[in-house]
């Protein structure tokens, strides 16, 4: 016997989301076809955008949903990249396989990291993650087989004979370098889809509800039986995995590594934080919007060097103060459009105390 489920299901689908589902499919088809349509330079730009998006989605999941504010995600980018280099150079593993190994190693690093840093109170957790990234950088700089402090390059034939490259060369008549770029691009695209799919699925699941509860009030969440620590650990390890994959993939494409670059707090954490904050923290759409804005700003202002970073910093501060839910937040408040509706529609919101005695203005 079937039974109509009464209207108690919590509504997360909106009309915009049905429309956007169709748009997303069309966009994905187009994205997969891109290497046949646009130039190699554009593909490289798209690769950059996609990999930054993966990092941003992961940082957003950590900070925006799990309340784990890390400024040490470069640890997993760098460690993933170094693992990939090690596997390729020392063991002759195919770079594509090495990327997966890198993800696993990033998780292996994340376990002790979580063990240490989860002992630190909120804001100090942030600096703790940074220390771990520094330790990883300093240790890898001691590894002479991978070039020590100055770093090393991937052997040329490793990328040339990479899994799939020969196949694409024969099938599509691409040049080797073109095929390499197309391959890394497709991998990045798949990684983006998998990351967003995972996060979207997680947030819509029962665990996602628990996560929101943990973020909003850890004690209350514990009272209703959500194991905050387990949730946080799970999210931390999952983001380490995906960040490690992204790091390895980025460095397959770069083909040259050094400890300072692979563990750069600016490249892999500061930029990522700005992308998420400017786009809109705590939404899936935010980082997507943020990475596009970031890319445009970078192309517009890259010639200005440190002025560019200075401006990005100011913009980030301004957004945090005046539009804490980012540009996407402003947009979706005006239009009520959500592409990835994960927020359960529940009108009212928390009590807004009109306190003035507290820290007073």
């Amino acid at each position: 016997m079937t039974m109509a489920i009464p209207s108690f299901t919590v509504e997360t689908r909106t009309r915009a989301s049905t429309f956007s589902a169709i748009a997303v499919i069309a966009l994905l088809l187009l994205a997969f076809a891109a290497p046949f349509i646009v130039s190699r330079g554009v593909i490289q730009d798209l690769f950059f955008i996609l990999t930054m998006l993966v990092l941003a989605q992961n940082w957003n999941l950590l900070a925006g949903y799990a309340g784990l504010i890390s400024v040490g995600q470069q640890a997993f980018v760098g460690f993933g990249a170094y693992t990939m280099f090690g596997a390729v150079i020392l063991f002759g593993v195919d770079p594509v396989v090495a990327i997966l190994i890198a993800g696993a190693f990033a998780v292996a690093l994340a376990i002790p990291t979580a063990f240490f840093t989860f002992r630190l109170y909120g804001p100090y957790f942030a600096i703790g993650t940074w220390v771990v990234a520094e330790v990883a950088r300093l240790l890898l700089a001691q590894w002479k087989a991978l070039g020590g402090g100055t770093g090393t390059s991937l052997p040329r034939d490793a990328t040339r004979d990479m899994m799939g490259v020969g196949f694409m060369r024969d099938l599509f008549g691409m040049k080797t370098s073109e095929a390499g770029d197309a391959l890394t691009y497709w991998l990045a695209l798949i990684l983006v889809i998998a990351t967003i799919g995972f996060i979207y699925g997680l947030l819509r699941s029962k665990q996602g509800l628990g996560l929101a509860a943990v973020r909003d009030n850890e004690q209350a969440a514990r009272a209703v039986g959500v194991d905050a620590m387990r949730m946080k650990t799970f999210v931390y390890l999952a983001t380490a995995f995906m960040t490690g994959l992204a790091g390895a993939l980025i460095y397959v494409q770069k083909a040259r590594i050094s400890p300072d670059a692979a563990f750069s707090v600016t490249d892999w954490t500061a930029y990522v934080i700005f992308i998420v904050v400017i786009g809109g923290i705590g939404t899936i759409e935010g980082p997507i919007l943020g990475v596009i804005i970031f890319f445009l700003l970078q192309n517009l202002l890259a010639d200005y060097g440190s002025w560019y970073l200075l401006m990005l910093g100011l913009l980030g501060i301004a957004v945090m103060l005046f539009a804490p839910r980012g540009l996407w937040g402003l947009f979706s408040d005006r239009t009520s459009i959500q592409l990835f509706p994960v927020r359960r529609v529940l009108k009212g919101g928390p009590l807004n105390l009109t306190h003035k005695g507290g820290p007073h203005g």
């Binding site: 009590l351 009109t354 306190h355 005695g357 007073h360």
Partner: protein
Amino acid sequence: MALIETRGLTAAYGDFQALFGVDIAVGTGETIAIIGANGAGKTTLMRSISGVIANEPASILYRNEPIGGLPAPDILARGIAMVPEGRKLFPSLSVEENLLIGRYGRTVDGPWTLDSIFGLFPILKERRSNPSTALSGGQQQMVAIGRALMSNPDVLLCDEISLGLAPVVVRDIYAAFPRIRETGASIVIVEQDIAQALKVADRVYCMMEGRVTLSGRADDLSRDDIHKAYFGTDHHELA
């Protein structure tokens, strides 16, 4: 002329309205009591007057000046001090320091100094260098009252000073009130213990669900009236 007056005072916590047009007046040197069941809005009224909650400026007048919009430090500077519900002593400060902090924002001359507070509550002198957390509930309440007095206020607001204390301790604490009255200060006492309130106050306001339901001279009010105003019904006997 009233020293403090509220006119149609409303207050809300977010969407939840806690006060609906409260009118009270406190004369110079007068002691009034505000009684009412849990959740009636007494604390909200005290928080409004003392500036913890922001209100419409003209809804609270002090010496005919609108003060409803002022923050707590400005209210204290004008001479209104509060003994908050639950005592709220500073755990990082010793007993003496808790008293001294009472005159951080207002250092006018008057009857109350560290010595005269120790005269009022001698036990505090013995325990002056203890952390405030090491004191019994009654002693903590004495510190909270002393702390408010240190600013030599013209108006002393006391929110449920007998809460959670044994009757003998309550008696000790209320024994200090005649001395406070002698200094000419006006006193507002929030109490759930009706008998106690009627004993110390000149006039009484009874509140229920954010409104004043009864007011009058303490000796004029009948048990029945109070009962009705307190519980909103006349079917039960007052305990």
